[in-house]
């Protein structure tokens, strides 16, 4: 339900506000010897955020609970994008970005798009190679590398 998510979000914002206020008070939110203390600006940000979150809680509470936030069948495509993306980042830690992105692209195109193996392999190998040339060679932006790149001497 949108209403529930709205309430949860507003609640989370209230917590953020309180945490910010707490940390600002630890740093000192008043007037130091040479001007406002470190916590001065965050203190007021947190305070106003907390108050606004309370108002949003009231606003969401009053609203009729009619619309769904996201239906189960609509949530599926979202997770189909999100979960492999998390997998890509996890794999990058282990085997480097280029191999991880090749696997990610290949698996996604085959499993989600059901494209022909020839297309899948061509793109899954071609795109990481192209990004390697563009970023690593031309723009000298190094991406995380794993055993394969080490074996190839990079």
């Amino acid at each position: 339900m949108t209403r529930t998510i709205d309430l949860v979000t507003a609640g989370a914002l209230l917590v953020v506000g309180l945490v910010v206020v707490g940390d600002s008070l630890r740093l000192g939110a008043g007037w130091g010897s040479d001007g406002p203390q470190s916590g001065f600006f965050p203190f007021w940000l947190g305070t106003v955020l907390g108050l606004t979150a309370c108002a949003l809680l009231v606003q969401a509470w009053r609203r009729a609970a009619t619309t769904r936030f996201v239906s189960r069948e609509r949530l599926k495509p979202v997770l189909i994008v999100l979960v492999p993306a998390i997998g890509l980042v996890l794999l990058t830690h282990l085997i480097g970005f280029y191999v991880a992105s090749a696997l990610y692209l290949g698996v996604y195109m085959r499993a989600v798009g059901a494209h022909r193996w020839s297309t899948v392999i061509l793109l899954a190998v071609g795109i990481p190679v192209a990004t390697f040339i563009i970023f690593e060679q031309w723009f000298l932006v190094p991406m995380p590398k794993g055993p394969l790149e080490a074996w190839l001497g990079y």
């Binding site: 130091g32 001007g35 609509r74 980042v89 992105s101 996604y108 798009g113 795109i127 990004t131």
Partner: protein, 506 residues
């Protein structure tokens, strides 16, 4: 003096390398504008790390050209696919898509690109004339004035943004809070890190932009199950020339749209309301208001002129005051800081070659842009024929590269994913994201302005009211803040119906 400087600027902008940068920027920008999930702001953010080693002038020409390209690209998807790539293209779909369905897509596209160009040119000329004057005035500004302008920027998001004012306020506050995380450079204390080393360097706005706008937008578009059923482009030289013969008829719409765009555009978040306002005016003054919504060419001209005029006008406060008028301008401002330039009025005296090179490149970039999109529309439209299962992972990979490249750090890629989920939830709940990004970019500047002002006044907030310029700006800011409270009352009094609010915002 202005003419000489502009001449100097053209000498910078017309070097082969900088012209090449403009062409590359417009090509990438148009592709980004066409692709779902990638808009001007995060296109600029992804490319930003690649410009760290470039000369700043070439870098800004590349990034601004990308912005112009994205503005043009938005019109292509609106007209051919009925998908507004950017919020300010929503009004373009009203008549653009019906025209394309009737087989007059070529005419609609020509009208859209030409109007965009006219609107942009109008704003560029005004920037050329007024930017130096405004910079001169801004040189006299002290910290209280700058803080008052920041206040005005954010209160206009809250008061004029069109969404829920409380949610806009939350977005602003979250941006400032995220900006405060990490080392406080004034006192040397660590704020909001709770002993976590990874939080010490704070949150980078580039990561936030890529996550919120890039990943968040993809999640949203797959959930909506977008399918692209495009109309044919129907574009050739004959159509272009024929349309150009008709367009002068709409000179009133062009002039009106340009003025509305510029006036709305130099205030933050102005492009979207400007496009709707221009459309509404064109309809009201038309002899055939009933034709609007069914494929009236004027209904494409009006919003496109205003949107581009506003898009360009957003560069004026960024250049002269160091306050960006849009998320894309905010990312560019962040770029200026990374390249070692101090944004604000001093740029005009200290780096005239940069400022005037940029202004001159707005002319060259838009001329190159309109010619390129007119010539290559079928190519750009073909991008949307690429299957979704290939586009989606490709966009994720590009976003990940962009996020990693900023600090060569994997934690940033994780932040990107987290920001993506936050962006998705926020968009579904109608929290605007643009104010968050602007606040994240401006956080340190705003806090310093506040600190210095309070030191000047020894802690009294009166400094924002008693100084004449700061006082006037603060008064306007407070008025905008109170707008959400005043407007319902005023509407009831005058019995004016509410304006249609733009659904998405980038």
């Amino acid at each position: 003096m202005g003419i000489e400087n502009l001449f100097l600027g053209f000498q910078v902008a017309i070097t082969p390398f900088n012209l090449l940068m403009a062409v590359v920027g417009i090509t990438l920008g148009t592709i980004i504008g066409v692709l779902p999930g990638l808009g001007g702001a995060n296109g600029v953010a992804i490319l930003l790390p690649l410009t760290f080693t470039m000369p700043p002038t070439s870098a800004i020409i590349l990034l601004t050209s990308l912005y112009w390209g994205a503005l043009f690209g938005g019109a292509i998807t609106s007209i051919l696919f009925n998908i507004p790539g950017e919020p300010w293209s929503v009004a373009t779909t009203f008549d653009g898509y019906p025209l394309a369905r009737q087989g007059r897509g070529g005419q609609a596209l020509t009208a859209a690109f030409t109007s965009s160009f006219v609107g942009a040119l109008f704003s560029i000329i005004l920037i050329t004339l007024f930017a130096p004057v405004l910079a001169e005035v801004a040189l006299k500004f002290g910290p209280p004035e700058f803080f008052a302008i920041q206040l005005l920027t954010f209160s206009s998001f809250i008061g004029l943004g069109g969404g829920d004012p409380l949610k806009s306020l939350v977005s602003v506050l979250l941006g400032f809070i995220l900006a405060a995380v990490g080392l406080d450079i004034v006192t040397g204390q660590l704020r909001l890190t709770f002993g976590v080393t990874d939080l010490m360097k704070g949150f980078d706005f580039i990561i936030a932009v890529i996550g919120l706008f890039g990943i968040g937008e993809i999640l949203l578009s797959v959930e909506e199950g977008l399918t692209f059923r495009g109309a044919a482009t129907g574009m050739n030289l004959g159509v272009v020339l024929d349309t150009w013969k008709i367009l002068p008829r709409y000179y009133r719409t062009f002039v009106r749209g340009s003025f509305i765009g510029f006036w709305m555009g130099f205030k933050p978040g102005g492009a979207t309301p400007a496009s709707f306002m221009s459309y509404a005016f064109a309809k009201r003054f038309s002899k055939h208001p009933d034709r609007f919504g069914h494929g009236e060419l004027e209904g494409v001209v009006a919003p496109e002129t205003a949107a581009h005029s506003a898009g360009v006008a957003a560069m004026l406060p960024m250049l002269t005051l160091g306050i960006p008028g849009s998320p894309t301008a905010a990312v560019m401002l962040g770029g200026l800081i990374i390249w070692g330039l101090q944004p604000g009025p001093l740029l005009f005296t200290e780096k005239p070659d940069f400022v005037w090179g940029l202004i001159a490149s707005m002319y060259t970039g838009n001329i190159i842009g309109v010619l390129m999109v007119l010539a290559f529309v079928p190519f750009f439209a073909a991008i949307l024929k690429i299957p979704f299962a290939i586009l989606t992972p490709l966009i994720v990979v590009v976003c990940a590269i962009g996020a990693y490249a900023v600090h060569s750090s994997m934690i940033d890629v994780w932040y990107m994913l987290i920001f993506g989920v936050i962006g998705y939830v926020f968009k579904k709940l109608d929290y605007p994201l643009a104010p968050l990004v602007l606040a994240l970019v401006l956080g340190d500047l705003a806090e310093n302005a506040l600190r210095q002002s309070l030191i000047m006044s020894q802690g009294s907030l009166g400094v924002f009211v008693t100084r004449p310029i700061a006082g006037a700006i603060t008064a306007v800011a407070l008025f905008f803040l109170l707008m959400p409270v005043l407007t319902p009352w005023w509407r009831r009094y005058r019995a004016v119906p509410a304006a249609p609010a733009a659904r998405r915002e980038r």
